[in-house]
Subunit: 455 residues, 2 copies
């Protein structure tokens, strides 16, 4: 007989994973290698180590080691806010009247407010180990910047954050949280970097984008010997660290003998979704199980659903390595939507490859329907979600409603990546009926894609 | 041999208490009864039921029943965000270099951001049971208003919130969270009530106070048959519901064979501290154990340390029942500090009586030292505390540092009542060095106390 499932499944401290899982090692057809922008050849670990810490450069290129041990110092930090709960959404199921069983992995119970801390602490740890003075980074919605500030403060590293301008303005208090953790925050594009000045010249009055902010942070890191650049999404290393989300979720389900049918996550650069699906996808790639995976992206920035699969720059300034990925073109600047964390032109190469192989689906949703789902969920499940996370809620609810129609008792698992405490200006717009939906035209996308690098 | 203690102790769902604990029932000398402002005689349940829901009026007056069963509907709601973790502050202990063992009961992992939800859901439940249309209330820092909005939304009740003006202005996004849950929020004092207009006339330009807001909410509740007033602190019923904090904390400690030496909480109206100490104090009153209890209050509003023990009105407008309590006088309007939730002129009668009997200590602390402790804690333990909660952190750290000096391995337990996500304007002032400490003069206090009702 199946054990009764509590509202929240908390693993014990010793059930917290001892290793991260490297999804690439399970793939027969691996993601294409990163290219060095100087040579347009696969980048070497040596070249990559000029941008990233050595250990992280190594992790970035390693596509064969299945399990990578989590250093004790990082695991100790994880214990402060992990294991994160896997929540059975009993109230939501009841309200929707669905036979589906809905679970969500909640990553918002830490001060950064999201899953980003999982990789931030790892990257700060390796930077500290290498004897660096500090790190530079970009942040969209501000969750990554906050997470990195916390991690740097813990290890005593300087932290310089370039924050996408539209988020900087929408979330005035985010800066203050980062400051509480001792970080320095600059709105991007800024005049403090050459690439920032160039972007401002080309697009005066731009709201910025993750792509711009990345370029600025990379440039800033190269100004001082003791600094390296760190990134909160897109990279293989980040997906590796975020695998802890999926590992915990799967351990919790296994503990209660529950097999997921559908796994859903929002997708900007792909870090939370990549982390969440890792152990499930690995099992499927080993032929041991079958799942339906759904990536949910904003209609304003429809990377998977309307982008193209090609080599592209990861940043607007074209100074980072190139990645083969689904992309709207590194020159594509999405409209200022209320899900700043999903405003990225590309998608991590692992998810891009899985999507290309037909192993994952993708859906694009409009922001007003996302906020409707967010408010509905907040009222029923008592958690105020981040707009980014609410993309997954929207599709999870859609799937649960389908189950109501078909009578199927599917098990739906989705990633609730973070909380919306700093998104109240967006909620206000929604409440006041002032939120508009923007979908880029085919011409806009075609124009940006036409500028992809040629080989 | 003692079991190794994890960073966070999470109870199982079936360890969540089935009953609240009524501390008054354990006291030989009970708190003095509430007085009816119309007769100045002990208030009857009938008279009290005109203000509060019937079941809550009953709980308010019951000082003999030790355990009161938690209705299933409330316990089900509790399961969405409880049991709350009892955290072992390993990182803080290490950083302070103290032999003390520090634990904190963290109540911030829910969208209201504090422990207030524990009583809000109970009060909303009884209002619904009685067939009411809605409730009115006041809120200081906004945590209670948010909690009540969530609870009302869950049970489909209308929710009208009078928010202390200085908090309304300091925390613009709090209103929006309440609105997400469908509540109506009015800054207090307002011109929508007679008592509000009177207060504005007497003190033009006032920042408001909890006392004012209570008066307005009580008046608003009397305008419509289907409404009752609910209150987030001070009352016996609230302490009863908040006993869940202490019950869980004590169960968690008992589970690992840990005996607390010092129990610390911040004290505004006294709800979290009262709830936290309940099972510990009950044990002590039964002669089974001995603890040191410390109430921490802001120096701007030093109710216990500088107030007097006498009958006083619970509200500025003098329309609520009178309570015998430590008070600065219901006419005392504290300076606009950054711990809005602690700006109350009185202290719940249970804690007042215990303090008067010498069973509890009290300390008043300055806000700059509170924010120093808050930032220190945030960086070490990874949780950004509410300014109110940081009062307890400050004294817990002081006690831990004393242990360092004496070498004592004391077990310190404190209540971390909530998170500071909506307090970033206050943190900003602190970072910018613009935060000032204000301590009322003896004359100010004497003047307010001189106006206490005479018998």
């Amino acid at each position: 007989m199946q054990q009764e499932i509590p509202y929240k499944i908390y693993l014990e401290e010793d059930e917290l994973p001892y290793s991260w899982m490297n999804l690439r090692a399970y793939m027969d057809k691996k993601p294409a290698p990163l290219l060095d922008p100087a040579t347009m050849q696969p980048i070497t670990q040596e070249a990559l180590s000029k941008v990233f810490c050595e250990e992280l450069a190594k992790q970035e290129l390693d596509d064969t080691t299945k399990l990578i041990e989590i250093p004790k110092e990082i695991r100790d930090f994880y214990k402060m806010y992990r294991p994160a709960p896997l929540v059975r959404a009993y109230c939501l199921e009841k309200k929707l009247g669905t036979p589906a069983h809905i679970y969500y992995k909640f990553e918002g119970n830490n001060t950064s407010g999201s899953h980003k801390l999982n990789s931030a602490i790892a990257q700060a740890y390796y930077a500290k180990q290498q004897g660096l003075k500090g790190v530079t980074t970009e942040t969209g919605a501000g969750q990554w910047g906050t997470a990195l500030s916390m991690a740097c403060s813990y290890f005593g590293l300087d932290c310089q954050v370039f924050m996408v301008k539209c988020s900087y303005e929408q979330k005035p208090f985010r800066r203050e949280v980062m400051r509480t953790y001792g970080a320095h925050v600059t709105p991007s594009p800024s005049t403090t970097t050459a690439v920032g000045r160039k972007i401002l010249e080309e697009f005066p009055g731009t709201n910025g984008s993750l792509g711009c902010a990345i370029s600025e942070a990379v440039e800033a890191s190269s100004r001082d010997e003791g600094y390296r650049y760190v990134l909160g999404s897109v990279l293989n290393q980040v997906l590796l660290h975020q695998s802890i989300i999926g590992l915990e979720a799967k351990t919790a389900l296994d503990k209660y003998g529950v097999k997921a049918d559908i796994v859903i996550g929002c997708a900007g650069g792909g870090s939370n979704l990549g982390g969440l699906i890792t152990p499930f996808m690995a099992e499927q790639l080993e032929g041991k199980a079958k799942y339906q995976f759904i990536a949910v992206e904003p209609a304003t920035c429809p990377t998977l659903t309307r982008g193209t699969y090609a080599y592209d720059y990861c940043d607007t300034g074209k100074i980072c390595p190139l990645s083969k990925m689904y992309t709207l073109g590194s020159g594509f600047i999405p409209a200022a939507s209320h899900a700043g964390g999903l405003r990225y032109h590309g998608m991590t190469s692992v998810l891009s490859e899985l999507y290309d192989q037909g192993l994952m689906e993708a859906r694009a949703v409009k922001q007003t329907e996302v906020f409707e789902a967010a408010e509905y969920f907040a009222r029923i499940e008592g958690i105020l979600p981040a707009p980014e996370s609410a993309h997954a809620i929207k599709v999870a609810m859609d799937e649960a409603i389908k189950c109501k129609e078909t009578g199927e008792e599917k098990v739906i698992v989705f990633g609730l990546t973070g909380t919306g405490y700093f998104d109240m200006m967006s909620y206000e717009k929604f409440h006041d009926g002032k939120m508009v939906n923007y979908t880029p035209t085919d011409e806009e996308i075609d124009t940006a894609i036409a500028k992809l690098p040629k080989f």
